[in-house]
């Protein structure tokens, strides 16, 4: 490769493909690039409902998207956290909220004061100190009061739940406005350079040839370019995350949507519930070694709210990541780069950060191995951190009521997760690590929610008078409680700001 990168081919539409198209068309506007997206209507996308995490706000902001318009067009709802039902044990639930617990004071983290109070038999349950949890319980929502930093309502942190198909359409419209070319076609063959192995062109089944300098592979699980052509290889993480099947089905909504996603653990996996404005997305992720697809479908159908509005969509996957997300002149995004079950709604986020990394490593006159190595190293770390967080949910459980859960209890933890659990189990410490996707509050919510109880707490917090600390904590609770009560309901907020048109 010696010519300037000028032709970019995105292979595959769907969420990842259109996120890539939108980002590249926006970021590279004003430069002489020819960007083409090739997708086939014959190939379905995986997208069902999609739940996101708060960094999606930055993505929308970067693209200059009007949030209310985006919500209307994707039938979206707001999301303040994820409820985990039956994960720690049967008949137990907790919410992993977006946003902090309480507020740090006396130069120690809030949760250390809470642990100290708890050891003395004082204070409330941890989740009482989360505004987002209180808002979830009361089905309330509003955007944060950023101009009132002292208000409890300044700390509202949110994301969205939306229809992935509509999201792809929304981004397609955005990208085409900026000059992206969309080609309807199924890729039939791929031509590589005889010496370098770089991809030179792709040919569709109607014999159209598309040359490219850089290819973004968003072709899904199969990895048309990154794997089928370049044979990059895949790190299989099934030993840590054994679920390998999912069955998805949308259903009619029977009540107003709630501002959180629900993940309910079953006998050999878990079920998602993503409430949208027009319907509810459902799916059952399970492990085929412990359950067959018929039983998985029966369990799903027995646990959805309303009448199904489509046939069950069965998916197979192997949890893990491509050994190199960037290989030669191909960069894989989305399912082509790796797969981790949507337990913490990280799929779209990983596409988003992949795109940010593409922009910060964007090739110029040629493709530099140093950039490729740097990109791949960062991608690997990011995937590993998400993996650790997901493994935590399965491994830290009291459930032993099925073979699957007994297996999960005995999963050998990755070293990085073992370290974090041990630190928490000792003195309740949660130390942020660089490039952490999940912050202190997330680790705290899930470690505590899953039943890991620290033996002790940070000895330094004992320097404060416990009664005074109790007083401060009660004030924090009252501020949070009053704040949550003062918020409009989720549907009141949507009705007022971003109600979508009713579609069938």
């Amino acid at each position: 490769m010696s010519d300037k990168i000028s032709k970019i081919i995105i292979v595959g539409g769907g969420t990842a493909g259109w996120m890539a198209a939108a980002t590249l068309s926006h970021m590279l506007s004003g430069l002489d690039y020819d960007i083409t997206l090739i997708e086939s209507e014959q190939i379905g996308t995986v997208g069902v409902g999609e739940a996101t995490i708060p960094p999606i706000l930055l993505f929308n902001e970067m693209l200059g998207i009007d949030e209310n318009e985006f919500i209307k067009e994707t039938q979206a709802t707001f999301k303040l956290g994820i409820e985990f039902v039956n994960w720690k044990k049967l008949d137990h639930s907790y919410i992993h909220p977006f946003g902090d617990f309480g507020i740090d004071f006396d130069v120690r983290p809030f949760h250390q004061h809470w642990l100290s109070q708890r050891a003395k038999g004082m204070g409330r349950d941890l989740f009482d100190y989360s505004l987002m949890v209180q808002a979830c319980h009361n089905e309330r929502f509003m955007r944060p009061l950023r101009d009132q930093p002292k208000s409890a309502l300044a700390g509202i942190n949110y994301a969205f739940q939306f229809d992935a198909g509509l999201y792809a359409k929304f981004l397609r419209k955005y990208s085409e406005r900026l000059g992206i070319k969309r080609i309807e076609g199924k890729i039939d063959s791929v031509k590589q350079h005889s010496e370098t192995g770089f991809i030179q062109s792709v040919t569709t089944d109607d014999s159209r040839v598309f040359d490219g300098d850089l290819f973004i592979d968003c072709s899904g699980f199969r990895g048309l370019l990154i794997e089928q052509t370049l044979e990059t290889g895949y790190d299989d993480w099934s030993k840590w995350l054994p679920c390998d099947r999912a069955v998805a089905i949308p259903c009619e909504k029977i009540a107003e949507p709630i501002p959180y996603t629900r993940a309910t653990a079953h006998e050999a996996g878990w079920q998602w519930r993503i409430p949208l404005q027009h319907r509810t997305g459902n799916g059952h992720v399970y492990c085929s070694s412990y359950m067959d697809s018929d039983k998985a479908t029966d369990i799903l159908l027995a646990n959805i709210d309303g009448k199904p509005i489509a046939e069950p969509n069965h998916l197979r996957f192997v949890t893990g990541r491509r050994k190199k997300a960037w290989n030669k002149n191909v960069i894989a995004l989305g399912l082509a780069a790796g797969f981790m079950e949507p337990l913490e709604s990280t799929s779209i986020h990983l596409v988003q950060t992949g795109l940010a990394r593409i922009m910060s490593h964007f090739p110029h006159e040629d493709i530099s191995q140093a950039d490729i190595d740097s990109f791949n190293e960062r991608t690997e770390k990011e995937y590993e951190r998400v993996r650790d967080f997901l493994v935590l949910h399965y491994n830290a459980t009291e459930r032993d009521d099925s073979e699957f859960w007994r297996y999960c209890q005995n999963i050998e933890r990755p070293e990085s997760l073992e370290r974090r659990i041990n630190q928490f189990a000792e003195h309740g410490r949660i130390l942020s690590e660089s490039n952490d996707l999940f912050g202190t509050a997330s680790w705290l919510a899930v470690m505590y929610g899953q039943g890991i109880t620290p033996k002790s707490y940070d000895p330094i917090v004992d320097k404060a008078d416990p009664q005074k600390v109790n007083g401060v904590m009660e004030q924090i609770y009252q501020a949070i409680n009053n704040g949550a009560k003062s918020m409009p309901t989720h549907m009141e907020f949507i009705d007022k700001n971003c109600r979508a048109e009713i579609i069938s």
Binding site: L31, S368, S374, N422, L431, S434
Partner: protein, 396 residues
């Protein structure tokens, strides 16, 4: 069991900073002893990097105090030698989503990389022996640290430490059992403590209880065993102590000394040490050492390829400091970030020229004003050592 007593073994800043820091963070019920080892010849001056401000706020050292007691001079860059200074401020201004070094490289592809230093306002001001606390709007921003008198600063630390039992080490006999120190015989007295902080530069005490190179073993934490002479010049000597204390407080142990917490301290300290070694190898332009350092090699390769600075986990030095060090080693990017092509070439060239002129004119203007305003000043650090208050009035 809670830690109640701490013994610090060492001398100078290394011993007294931990005492002052712990005293500021923990209740006075903690008993702190310092066993002062031989007072070897120390550097007269000490560099405090900009991020020392948080620590100084904790220790209640105001800028006026630092000026009065430690003869503080503000510092916009750490001078390594006549050819290299690591700036505490940015290179140029970003534009159209591209960082300045890419824009500059696009316009000046063949110019020696060192010329980029003309676009660093903190370097320009420092070279002209000028100090303005804050960059004016529309100019490359910067922060500042201090050049301190070691003795003056040490006196401040001693005062801040309060109620410390200070013993002279006539000898240093470490009694230990099963990887833990049980007592230290320093000649006149046996000192027993729950936690021992080894503040000797050669890790004298911790080496006795363990042959491993980790910093924390059992009840003994070594905080400066990997001291390098370059650490004086780039401000790492003080900064390393500061982060050692921040980390210790974040992981404050009880007498069980949980291995998970000690391991975490060591993991972070080791990562930090590697970054420091990378920078020191680059600054020394020690080619053999540079070639042995994988992360440094990667950093160099990424910079050479397209002028990007790859941020590593637990990075110590800023992007600007890395650019300065790489430029000083004559490592040049072959290309630049494609986003730098967004701007019209002619327009970009004009913009860069204007920026260069603006920096030059600003420095010249400030030099004139300073001389007019304060004829007795040295640069604009007045001879009475009262640094900031006199200077801030110059920028109007």
């Amino acid at each position: 069991m809670t830690i109640k007593s701490i013994a610090i073994i060492g001398s100078s800043i290394e011993a007294w900073l931990p005492a002052a820091y712990i005293r500021a963070r923990l209740p006075s019920a903690y008993k702190i002893s310092i066993i002062e080892t031989s007072k070897s010849k120390d550097e007269n001056r000490l560099i405090a990097r900009p991020n020392s401000k948080d620590m100084h706020a904790l220790l209640q050292f105001s800028e006026a105090d630092l000026g009065q007691h430690a003869q503080a001079k503000p510092l916009l860059a750490a001078t390594i030698n006549a050819d290299i200074a690591l700036p505490f401020g940015r290179y140029g201004l970003d534009r159209d989503g591209a960082e300045f070094q890419h824009l500059w490289r696009r316009i000046y592809p063949d110019t020696p990389i060192q010329n980029i230093n003309l676009f660093n306002l903190s370097l320009a001001l420092q070279k002209a022996a000028l100090f303005i606390p804050q960059a004016p709007q529309g100019m490359p921003s910067y922060d500042y640290g201090y050049d301190l008198s070691t003795n003056g600063y040490l006196s401040m630390l001693k005062q801040a430490a309060k109620d410390v039992l200070n013993l002279e080490a006539k000898k240093l006999e470490v009694h230990h059992d099963s990887g833990k120190i049980s007592a230290i015989d320093c000649g006149d007295t046996h000192i027993q403590a729950d936690l021992y902080i080894d503040a000797t530069r050669d890790g004298h005490v911790s080496n006795i209880i363990s042959t491993l190179m980790d910093n924390w073993h059992g009840n003994c934490l070594s905080i400066c065993r990997n001291f390098d002479e370059t650490d004086h010049k780039n401000g790492i000597r003080l900064y390393r102590l500061q982060i050692a204390m921040e980390r210790l407080i974040a992981l404050w142990p009880d007498t069980s000394f949980a291995p998970s917490e000690l391991n975490e301290y060591n993991r972070l300290a080791n990562a930090e040490q590697e970054h420091i070694r990378d920078m020191n190898a680059l600054l020394a332009h020690d080619k053999k050492e540079m070639s042995n350092r994988k992360a440094l090699q990667r950093k160099i390769a990424v910079f050479e390829s397209r002028g990007r600075i790859a941020n590593e986990d637990y990075e110590i030095f800023s992007k600007s400091e890395w650019i300065a060090a790489l430029a000083a080693a004559n490592i040049s990017p072959a290309s630049y970030d494609r986003l730098a092509d967004r701007a019209d070439e002619h327009d970009l060239k004009q913009w860069i020229k204007q920026l260069e002129q603006a920096i030059g004119q600003y420095v010249h203007m400030m030099g004139q004003r300073t001389i007019k305003s304060s004829p007795q000043s040295h640069g604009n650090v007045t001879t009475d050592g009262n640094i900031i208050s006199n200077i801030s009035g110059l920028v109007k």
